[in-house]
Assembly symmetry: C2
Homo-oligomer: 392 residues x 2
């Protein structure tokens, strides 16, 4: 089959706010080859990712992503890796390329799985898709009481694991942060799994992070996520050596395999969190899962958006029975649910699994696309390089 | 002063080819504050970098670069670092942001220098701008004889140091590569400084790189540049431990300080090459220069484009007398010279220095801008987010 077309759909809530909620917009990718269709989703800025697919070439290794994708043949999984390598080389000076290609790569797996009637995890070499324990991902409240209420709500909704993120943590006194951690624990109950995400708040300041460790340990937090800049390997390494029972988690910012490997090897993380919509897709995420599993590091997906992205993010570690925890978009904005016709349902134990269905196992709702579709036009030298396509 | 406007000018040769020549287009940035003007230049894809300045916000930490720049106050150098930190945090999920902000940051230094009547290197804390030995940066020939001729031409043109890059190296037999290295040495003469750049050709394949070390050593090459992917720290580290008299060089792909630091600490490079148009501008590059100097690693600029970019790239290490070598665009495309009214002239010894003139010391030629200006329009939801501005 030849890749005949790659179409991007920029969807957005009518109003986007400054809250740290990545489900406010989406960039959906449709790939067509040999009369078949596959769907994927890029994380982060839709307009910029579209631009890096269609931009004019700057020179031999700053080519648009499209130049290395369109017209390629795709028949076996190895073709996806070959195309990925071409993108990496031909677009080495185009920083945004990894984010753009991530959604394309997912769509290629989805397409190949549909053609073969196999779930993607099977194409990756797994024999089973093991159940995962989803954690409800939500923001800390403005007050400890709000955090408490969030925890109670999540438990009532059947979640045993909850992750609280961002909000006031790291912006005020250590004692105030401790109250939030305790409130979360109280709301969760003693058997709940508590995870804490601070969204790079401390930059490279190891002491500021370490000062919160006793309170995190007292609240029984399993991990402290993204204390530092995605690239601050030295800070990660130092905190990991001091963090005791609280493991350090990170990796969502990884836009290539090396970055994830370095967080494991130099940063000493106990949990490596990979967003398939950023790292270059499902193939590189699978390589990270293999690397982590061989080193006693737990692989976790990073997903804050749709169930298309969720299914994609589960594939790389679907077959790793011991890597049990998974991020689950708890309260995404309506746009994130609008464009899929089905979602991953939790079973009676509150668990989910990568679907046992061809491709990613997620159907697309074209009416939902239409409802949130953003009209974009990019013209260079009088030529239209991109205009929002028809979803039908 | 308040930052009132930031304008981007996308310039390009009428035809862009797949050769590894980064001077085929340019993204010029003009910043206006308090009635003053500063100029800077971003490296790599102009369209994508423009998009990341004007794109709609996706969420709180995926904001357009413009949101953290426009309206900011700029009076002292510390303001530039403050704005840079805001961009890094507010756009942490926008991969292209570092490339975009790099040109803006340069322009802020240029503006501040002009306001104070001081060269940027003085604002950075240096007391002198030391002479540098420029190397003529050119591509390997298709044949060893062409490589030889290139070396002869560069020497005739007064260059003692020459860097050959890309071309056939690493694509064929080791013996063929060795012939190119020897031809370069013959053309340069025994006292010439020979530098070799292979543009990431070996990915992470340490053995393929190591197999060329004897020939490089025999030809007296000072450095082997970018043998691997920008992020392949392990491969860099292993090759560095085996490279003997040939030092490993790299760093042009660094889009933050951490990446450069890791190439030094984990990758063991002997030369760290920083492109101010990618790493976030002059401020972060100066921090890398300090870090390198303290560790006996030599700082080198990476510049393949205009003399505005060249002046900017010299500032971070202008005051480091021992860091003597510098990249000099030997045969850039006409667009790279068209938009500056002056260039950095080599003196009678063939040396250059960061100008002793306010700001970056480079004047802009608006007629030159006009000649190569690319017409761009970006519309989202019916609103024009970007239209090519008037250079006058």
């Amino acid at each position: 089959m030849k890749i005949e077309a790659v179409d991007f759909f920029y969807l957005s809530m009518p109003e986007v706010t400054t809250e740290a909620d990545g489900s406010q917009d989406a960039l959906l990718v449709r790939v067509a080859a040999g009369g078949h269709i596959g769907w994927g989703e890029c994380e982060a800025s839709p307009l910029v990712s579209i631009a890096s697919f269609v931009c004019p070439m700057s020179h031999g290794v700053c080519r648009p992503v499209g130049a290395s994708v369109l017209g390629q043949s795709i028949d076996v999984p190895q073709d996806i890796a070959r195309i990925a390598a071409e993108v990496a080389y031909n677009s080495m000076d185009l920083l945004q390329a990894a984010h753009t290609f991530s959604g394309v790569e997912m769509a290629l797996w989805d397409l190949l799985g549909k053609v073969r009637g196999e779930p993607v995890w099977r194409l990756l070499g797994y024999n089973a898709s093991y159940k995962k324990t989803p954690y409800a991902s939500q923001l800390f409240g403005d007050t400890p009481h709000e955090t408490y209420q969030g925890a109670v709500r999540a438990r009532k909704d059947g979640f045993r694991a909850v992750k609280f993120g961002w909000g006031p943590i790291g912006r005020g006194r250590i004692e105030d942060d401790a109250e939030h951690f305790q409130a979360a624990r109280e709301g969760l109950g003693s058997d709940g799994i508590l995870l804490v995400d601070v969204g790079q708040i401390w930059g490279e300041d190891v002491e500021a992070a370490a000062a919160r460790l006793p309170a995190l340990e007292a609240a029984g937090a399993v991990w402290l996520e993204e204390p530092f800049h995605a690239s601050a390997l030295e800070a990660y390494g130092e905190l990991s050596r001091r963090s005791g029972t609280v493991k350090i988690a990170g990796g969502e910012g990884a836009h290539n395999i090396s970055m994830a490997r370095h967080l494991i090897d130099y940063g000493g993380v106990g949990f490596i969190q990979i967003d398939c919509g950023r790292i270059g897709g499902i193939g590189p995420a699978k390589k990270v899962a293999d690397y982590a599993a061989a080193r006693n590091v737990t692989f976790v997906n990073h997903t804050f958006t749709s169930h298309l992205a969720l299914s994609a993010s589960l594939q790389p570690y679907a077959g790793l029975a011991d890597h049990k925890i998974c991020e689950f978009p708890f309260a995404p904005k309506p746009v994130a649910h609008a464009f899929t016709a089905n979602i991953l349902q939790r079973d009676s134990n509150g668990e989910i699994a990568a679907p046992d269905a061809p491709g990613l196992g997620i159907d697309i709702d074209r009416q939902g696309i239409r409802k949130y579709l953003v009209d974009v036009e990019i013209k260079v030298s009088g030529r239209t390089l991109y205009a929002t396509p028809e979803p039908a």
